[in-house]
């Protein structure tokens, strides 16, 4: 499997960080970078990462099954994650979640018809001190409100138009 030069460079950088015999440590970050490019984890990608990291495809499969940020279904261009774990829940995370699903007309792990946005209700995103929190791709948005969330979604939608 081939990747774009940028992705390939990132994969190489991660891979070379681990000594021989320990390449399996690179499985998660490699999968994430590769997923960024294709929007989903494919069987081909699993085989490729397995080969590079000297593990079996099944061992990569185990990782993909375990981590919710690795998706076998195609995600949107923007993967928006709304935290509804305890700190965010207390600070209105659940309202944010309901608002988003209503506005986009999609639910957990679903994608808008145009493939632009996918949605995921996540457990603690590790930003409790600034709850509630919404994550777009790798970008964190703290102290979220419904207004700020709408602005975020507007800007995503406008960017493409």
């Amino acid at each position: 499997m081939t990747f774009t030069p940028e992705t390939e460079q990132k994969l190489q950088a991660i891979w070379s960080r681990y000594p021989a015999g320990r390449k399996r440590s690179a499985v998660i970050p490699m999968l994430m970078y590769a997923q960024d490019e294709t929007g989903q984890v494919t069987q081909e990608m699993i085989a490729e990462v397995a080969k590079r990291c000297e593990v079996t495809p099944l061992q990569v499969e185990e990782v993909v099954g375990y981590y919710s940020m690795l998706n076998k279904q195609k995600m949107g261009k923007h993967h928006v994650q709304v935290c509804t774990n305890i700190a965010c829940l207390l600070m209105g995370g659940e309202e944010l979640w309901h608002h988003t699903t209503k506005r986009l007309g999609i639910g957990h792990k679903q994608v808008t018809a145009d493939g632009l946005i996918s949605l995921e209700e996540v457990e603690c995103a590790g930003a409790c001190s600034w709850a509630p929190c919404v994550v777009d791709g790798y970008e964190y948005h703290h102290h979220m409100t419904i207004e700020k969330l709408d602005q975020l979604l507007d800007s995503i939608e406008n960017k493409v138009q």
Binding site: T56, L58, Q59, E61, E62, G65, Y66, S68
Partner: protein, 702 residues
């Protein structure tokens, strides 16, 4: 860092439930308790495999430790005070069980495991019959992963025993875990199916009924079976297998009681290959060729007919050729060679030879303790495999080496014509074409000199002079070396030991009147009689003699029987009593598990023929016990301790330790190259073996 020079303690003292116990340092509490007769419940812990600490059933109280501890990961420590059953522990275990049962279907009445299920036993012991969970159970449908393996995720308690058995025990790694939390489940390596050894080790090790086998599932309740301990009939490794028999039908093969040299190990052939005995193509009646067609006749007619022919050929001074199969018992082989030599007055007697043990014995003459047993393969500090795809051809010996690496950090070296599974855990693996082995060995010489001991396992590419060269090379290493000469089938070794060879009598005594070898018999243009007992020499070969009267004793109408004038239906190894000797020279008892269907054992057929010929007195009684007594008394090396045999153990034979001065025809020695999924003449009659996608497999792959 300590500067003390005191030796580390060799024993640790501790207390469990008020009892003073001691164990070597490093012993896990759960094992130490087991040895003292204190049972600590465990789902995920399994002796011999890596630790998982996943199930929390083994929790115990340890003084000065704030929380309950998992006995499966805790090494014993000096002065440790442990309690294994307290109210707190009881509550914790009950809680664990309640969790396990939240999604468990509790379909015990139809579950294969019902009655021998570890989860059932634990719930019986700790309660948790009622649940506080009112939610609907998570249910996932059952899946078929291969013609052998079925997985029912709902019954799975995620102990990961199967994953470790496959990965560590088998060296396959076909099972993994996918998803997380309540939805996690076991996953096969090919997304929705398995590409593996199909050994069923995962099924047997599963504490519950989550993994089931196609041959056994929904067939019987465990307590309705009788269990018959016998020996696998397929390869030369001689695994003990305990057959579950119900209504005169074998429904299961396993070795969960760990009796026998192989412990729990069995490969796909040992666990499921018993179906050859119920194949509907079995010959069930004697047959005589009448007008070119084999017609069923009575036993007395067939026996009389053959005896008549034998007598007339004998009187006319005609030639006999006798070929024996490598699956016959020692008793049958011994009786047959006696019949041939004393009765038919010839040594035209042979079997398909698959390894050059004869030259090895000669080359080792004078060296003591130079033949390795299957135990040695597990205990040796280093092993060298030459010219064999061990995991494919000698599954149990390969399993022993894997365990040796895991438990004793043994160094494995391989010199093979292609890639082998052993390479994954070997110290060094060299691929060389057949013929180039000695170059590779010379490269290994210096490394091997640094080992403390070595077991060498070699295949059929090392024969004749090359065996002597090997022994000479190994003697130069300056370390103790033991050998295993790899041979193909369940009693290939016995056939040699019993003198089913044209130039050697039982116990490797030189035959003063050598006869023709198998190859010579087939190409002899005026051979008068070819008597084939449990073999198929005409597969892919022709019989030169047009006039030969051919008699076969067989389970199936194979190529040789197609040429036969008379066919006798013979019993399979699952229908026989007697003994067989495995590749490492260990004798074990076969025990008849089911009755024969119209067939007789080869011993009985030979005996009845002897009687017809008036030779019964000379050749002796055809009872396996009587013949074994004679073997025990007269065959060199078979003077083994009887209690071991009688109790179902494996007794090491002690073959000759002197010159075996005969010419070995190396062109007659060739391994059939069976894989995990083939079994010489038998494999094609096993529906299960031929149904797995990996069939027929290939050597030097994976």
């Amino acid at each position: 860092m300590s500067t003390s020079t005191a030796a580390p303690p060799t024993v640790v003292n501790f207390t469990v439930d008020g009892r003073q116990l001691s164990a070597p340092p490093g012993t896990l509490l759960i094992d130490a308790c087991k040895r003292a007769g204190i049972e600590i419940p465990a789902f995920c812990y399994y002796e011999g495999y890596s630790l998982q600490a996943a199930c929390r059933m083994c929790l115990v109280e340890v003084e000065k430790m704030p929380k309950l501890q998992t006995a499966c990961t805790l090494p014993v420590m000096e002065g440790m005070i442990v309690r294994s059953e307290t109210e707190q522990i009881h509550k914790a275990r009950k809680g664990t069980l309640e969790f396990l049962l939240t999604n468990h279907p509790l379909d015990c009445p139809v579950c294969d495991k019902g009655g021998e299920c570890e989860l059932q036993d634990m719930v019986f012991r700790y309660g948790a019959g009622e649940s506080r969970f009112t939610e609907i159970k998570n249910h996932e449908p059952e899946r078929q992963w291969s013609p052998v393996v079925f997985y029912d995720p709902a019954r799975c308690i995620l102990c990961y025993r199967c994953v470790r058995a496959c990965n560590e025990g088998m060296g396959v790694g076909a099972l993994g875990v996918t998803n997380r939390g309540v939805v996690s489940e076991i996953a096969p390596n090919m997304v929705d199916h398995l590409d593996c050894d199909e050994c069923g080790a995962c099924i047997d090790i599963c504490p519950v009924g989550a993994l089931t086998s196609n041959t056994y599932r929904y067939k019987t309740r465990p307590w309705e079976m009788q269990h018959v301990g016998t020996v696998c009939t397929h390869c030369s490794n001689g695994c003990k297998t305990t057959l579950g028999v119900r209504n005169d039908e074998i429904v299961r093969g396993n070795n969960r009681d760990r009796s026998g040299i192989n412990g729990e190990f069995l490969c796909v052939k040992g666990r499921y290959g018993f179906d050859v005995s119920t194949n509907e193509e079995r010959v069930t009646s004697p047959m005589i060729r009448i007008n070119g067609k084999l017609e069923a006749v009575s036993w007395s007619k067939a026996l009389g007919f053959v005896a008549e022919k034998f007598r007339s050929v004998s009187t006319a001074g005609g030639s006999f050729g006798v070929v024996a199969g490598p699956h016959l018992t020692n008793e049958e082989l011994f009786y047959l060679q006696k019949f041939t030599r004393a009765g038919l007055k010839t040594s035209n007697l042979d079997h398909a030879r698959s390894g050059d043990l004869v030259t090895l014995l000669d080359a080792l003459s004078g060296k003591t303790d130079a033949l390795a047993t299957s135990d040695d393969c597990y205990n040796t500090k280093a092993a060298l495999v030459i010219g064999s795809d061990l995991s494919q051809q000698h599954p149990f010996l390969a399993f022993q080496l894997r365990a040796d690496v895991r438990h004793h950090k043994a160094n494995i070296y391989t010199v093979t014509p292609g890639p082998v599974r052993e390479a994954k855990y070997s110290a060094q693996s060299i691929e060389v074409p057949v013929g180039g082995e000695f170059d590779a060995l010379r490269n290994l010489t210096e490394t091997l000199k640094g080992e403390q001991e070595l077991v060498i396992l070699f295949g059929d590419s090392i024969k004749g002079q090359r065996v002597r060269d090997l022994v000479e090379w190994a003697s130069g290493l300056g370390i103790p070396v033991k050998y295993v000469c790899l041979v193909d089938y369940s009693n290939s070794r016995g056939a040699m030991d019993m003198g089913v060879m044209p130039n050697l009598l039982p116990g490797y005594e030189v035959d003063p009147h050598p006869g023709m070898s198998l190859g010579q018999m087939l190409s002899h243009e005026t051979l008068d009689v070819l008597w084939v007992v449990g073999a198929n020499p005409l597969r892919g070969k022709t019989l030169a003699s047009k006039q030969a009267f051919v008699v076969t004793q067989t389970m199936f109408l194979e190529e040789t029987s197609e040429r036969a004038d008379v066919v006798f239906p013979s019993a399979s190894a699952y229908e026989k009593n007697g003994t067989v000797t495995n590749v490492t020279g260990q004798v074990q008892r076969l025990k008849a598990a089911v009755r024969t269907m119209g067939a007789k054992t080869d011993l009985e057929i030979c005996g009845l023929l002897a009687k017809e010929l008036g030779l019964a007195v000379e050749i002796g009684v055809w009872s396996h016990d009587v013949v074994f007594k004679e073997i025990h008394k007269s065959v060199r090396g078979y003077n083994v301790p009887l209690p071991i045999l009688i109790t179902g153990g494996a007794a090491a034979t002690n073959p000759v330790n002197g010159r075996v001065a005969v010419d070995v025809r190396i062109e007659d020695i060739q391994s059939a190259g069976d894989t995990l999924f083939t079994s010489g003449e038998l494999g094609r009659y096993s529906k299960l073996l031929t149904s797995v996608p990996e069939f027929p497999g290939a050597l030097y792959k994976r």
